[in-house]
């Protein structure tokens, strides 16, 4: 019987029924301390430190603080120092403050070349789905599971259902992978993928670069999906080639990877088709990523949402929180802040696209705009291309790598009432700071909004 990519990876990793072997475990400071504590209490070692890697990202100030002990916020400092101690004690390689390989956990895996096709990957972070862009099976897990994984190198998993979303046609000018995934979540709702491992397929996906594919898989969790996946191809192999973690016998590895894609005729539990050429730049108006419209639309009237995936009551509350009135054109929403960064859109390609827009222009009036590279390596690469100069002279702040204002666990936050165009993945209430209002967009849309002070349709903006 023809098999899906998911089926193949699952079968290759099943130790016994429902017990899945893990090839790579990514660790960060927020969801791991209690897991290491649990190991110590039960006197259990880490089974495979060489299949584990750690970095500090969520709590890290982006001002260039050079070492954990110098982090000003006491709780953040304790968390990062705890991670350092735990990694030392259990023999896990760590890229902490001061390391040139440090960065957002989902940026550094692919960057080091350790995210590879056919692997199972876990991390105590829901955006682990990012790694599925390489044709791996990647899950976000909770802290108890982190402990379980450290102790056993396995995870107890119920087999997910499978879904394929087929994107026909190609993305139009100015329409990015971020818009594609936002539009998909808008259509299916934030619970539309629950219980499913989602394979993104079709010509519009095949045409994308790895960063674009990562953006899409990254946000699978915002649709409620368990994992996002994209079949590996030449684009994937070329990304991995030559990176520090690339297999020694690369050609042989590639040969194996070529057998991973879903076979023709394989069945999925759900199949959906989307015409990629009909998609537009998207902007969220509410407090979850499914509350999204095309940039040419207006803020919707909650009553009109009756038949869609967004609950009208939830929409009303969202509009009150966002301080928006139904009928307001999206392009007339004024902004206070711009954030370009996060594991969704902080790779060099994202920064290049944004830089192209702001080059030779200035950030509007009183607006505060910042760019936060996803890793120290992204930062170095961008600087080598002169992107930092482009951003700086336009009036952007250029920061050190970290999660930054994606979640406001570090000094980068929105103030009460501030409105932000953000390239991150979550527009939940208070996500970027208490009382802060988030509109999710692509890097290009964020960059153009920085110049104009409000959203613009990037397709006819010049």
């Amino acid at each position: 019987m023809p098999r899906t990519m998911f089926d193949k990876i699952w079968a290759a990793h099943e130790v016994s029924e429902g017990l899945i072997y893990v090839d790579l475990h990514l660790v960060h400071e927020v969801t791991s301390p209690q897991a290491f504590d649990g190991l110590r209490l039960a006197d259990r070692p880490v089974r495979r430190p060489e299949k584990t890697i750690a970095t500090a990202d969520h709590n890290v100030p982006t001002d260039g603080t050079p070492a954990a002990r110098l982090i000003a916020d006491q709780l953040s400092r304790v968390q990062v120092e705890t991670l350092e101690r735990n990694c030392e004690e259990f023999g896990i390689p760590l890229y902490s403050l001061g390391s040139e390989r440090r960065g957002i956990v989902h940026v550094i895996g692919p960057e080091l070349g350790i995210t590879q096709p056919g692997m199972t990957i876990v991390c105590g972070d829901s955006h682990t789905s990012t790694h599925g862009a390489f044709g791996s099976l990647a899950f976000g897990i909770g802290t108890s599971e982190v402990e379980h994984e450290l102790a056993t190198q396995c995870m107890v998993q119920k087999r997910a259902q499978t879904m394929r979303i087929d994107y026909e046609g190609s993305l139009g000018h100015g329409v990015t992978p971020k818009d594609l995934i936002l539009a998909t979540i808008g259509r299916l709702g934030t619970g539309g993928m629950v219980g499913h491992a989602v394979e993104y397929a079709g010509p519009a996906i095949e045409a994308l670069s790895m960063p674009g594919r990562m953006t899409i898989c990254n946000m699978t969790i915002e649709g409620g999906g368990r994992a996002g996946m994209i079949a590996p191809d030449e684009t994937t192999f070329e990304w991995i080639r030559g990176r520090p973690g690339a297999p020694e016998d690369f050609d042989r590895a590639v040969e194996g990877w070529r057998s991973l894609p879903t076979e023709p005729g394989a069945g999925f539990d759900a199949e959906i088709e989307v015409d990629a050429s009909s998609l537009s730049p998207m902007v969220t108006w509410g407090t979850n990523p499914g509350m999204v419209v095309e940039v040419t639309d207006a803020v919707p009237d909650p009553e009109s949402l009756e038949d869609g995936p967004v609950n009208p009551e939830t929409a009303k509350r969202a509009l009150a929180y966002m301080d928006l009135r139904p009928g307001t054109p999206i392009t007339e929403i004024p902004l206070d802040r711009i954030f370009i960064g996060s594991c969704t859109n902080s790779r060099v390609e994202d920064l290049r696209e944004a830089a192209e827009i702001v080059e030779g222009r200035k950030v509007a009036g009183t607006l505060r705009a910042m760019v936060v590279p996803g890793s120290q390596q992204v930062k170095a690469e961008a600087e080598a291309e002169g992107l930092d100069e482009v951003f700086r002279s336009a009036g952007f702040e250029w920061r050190e790598a970290g999660c930054s204002m994606c979640l406001g666990m570090n000094p980068d936050t929105l103030s009460e009432g501030e409105r932000c165009a953000s390239t991150s993945n979550r527009n939940f209430e208070g996500r970027q700071g208490r009382g802060g209002r988030t509109h999710l967009v692509s890097p290009r849309m964020a960059a153009a909004a920085a110049v104009e002070g409000h959203f613009v349709d990037i397709r006819d903006w010049s």
């Binding site: 290759a12 130790v15 016994s16 429902g18 017990l19 090839d23 790579l24 927020v30 969801t31 209690q34 504590d37 430190p49 299949k51 584990t52 890697i53 969520h58 916020d73 709780l75 304790v78 968390q79 705890t82 390689p93 080091l112 070349g113 350790i114 590879q116 692997m119 105590g124 972070d125 829901s126 976000g140 897990i141 909770g142 802290t143 108890s144 599971e145 379980h148 102790a151 056993t152 190198q153 396995c154 107890v156 934030t190 619970g191 629950v194 219980g195 409620g224 520090p244 973690g245 979850n288 609950n311 939830t314 979640l407 406001g408 666990m409 979550r426 939940f428 209430e429 996500r431 208490r434």
Partner: protein, 187 residues
């Protein structure tokens, strides 16, 4: 993990759909390195602003897709620390559901209509073994995977169970079925 068998008591109602884990426990409280003490920060912004009131009853009844968003296990820790022993909702986000079962916080899926009736009843007895929610409005059955039920009723630690299977993991690793994979310590 404490065994879970019967949960009995009043029902606290949080009548909202799509409640995300950022609301359950806002990120400023994720910086603790301990497992306890999160209860006082539960729904911090909503409770502090007076938007909602919540009694620490044994049962929390809430809307669909509860626990969506971030995978933080701090959310179930906070709910449990606050005093809840069972959460009843028409549906749950996947990771959240799994996280609850790891710590013995019982997630119960009931359809919307039964949820409404339960809210009116205000009190219930949840029997895990029978798989029923028993309240003044009736006895409503709910599903729980057999394995999971066994673990919850016996308060079994997942790691202990898996390690009973250590032989199978050894066999898997030496079988060559495990992809060689990158070696992080050699980077």
């Amino acid at each position: 993990m404490r065994p879970v068998e019967v949960i009995r008591g009043k029902v606290s109602v949080l009548d909202r759909a799509d409640v995300d884990t950022d609301q359950i426990i806002p990120k400023q409280f994720l910086k603790r390195v301990e497992r306890t003490g999160f209860g006082e920060f539960l729904f911090y912004d909503w409770i502090r602003s007076g938007e909602i009131e919540l009694e620490p009853n044994p049962i929390l009844l809430t809307g669909r897709n509860f626990g969506c968003g971030s995978s933080r296990e701090h959310a179930p820790w906070a709910l449990q620390d606050f005093g809840f022993e069972a959460i009843v909702a028409p549906s749950f986000a996947d990771i959240f559901y799994g996280n609850c079962t790891k710590i013995g916080l019982l997630p119960v899926v009931l359809d919307e209509q039964h949820c409404r009736l339960l809210a009116e009843a205000g009190e219930a007895r949840i029997d895990l073994d029978d798989g029923t929610v028993d309240c003044a409005a009736g006895v409503f059955p709910f599903e729980l995977e057999t394995d999971l039920k066994h673990r919850l009723i016996n308060g079994l630690d997942d790691i202990g169970i898996t390690l009973q299977n250590a032989g199978a993991i050894d066999a898997y690793e030496s079988s060559g079925r495990a992809a060689a994979g990158p070696v992080t310590t050699a980077l």
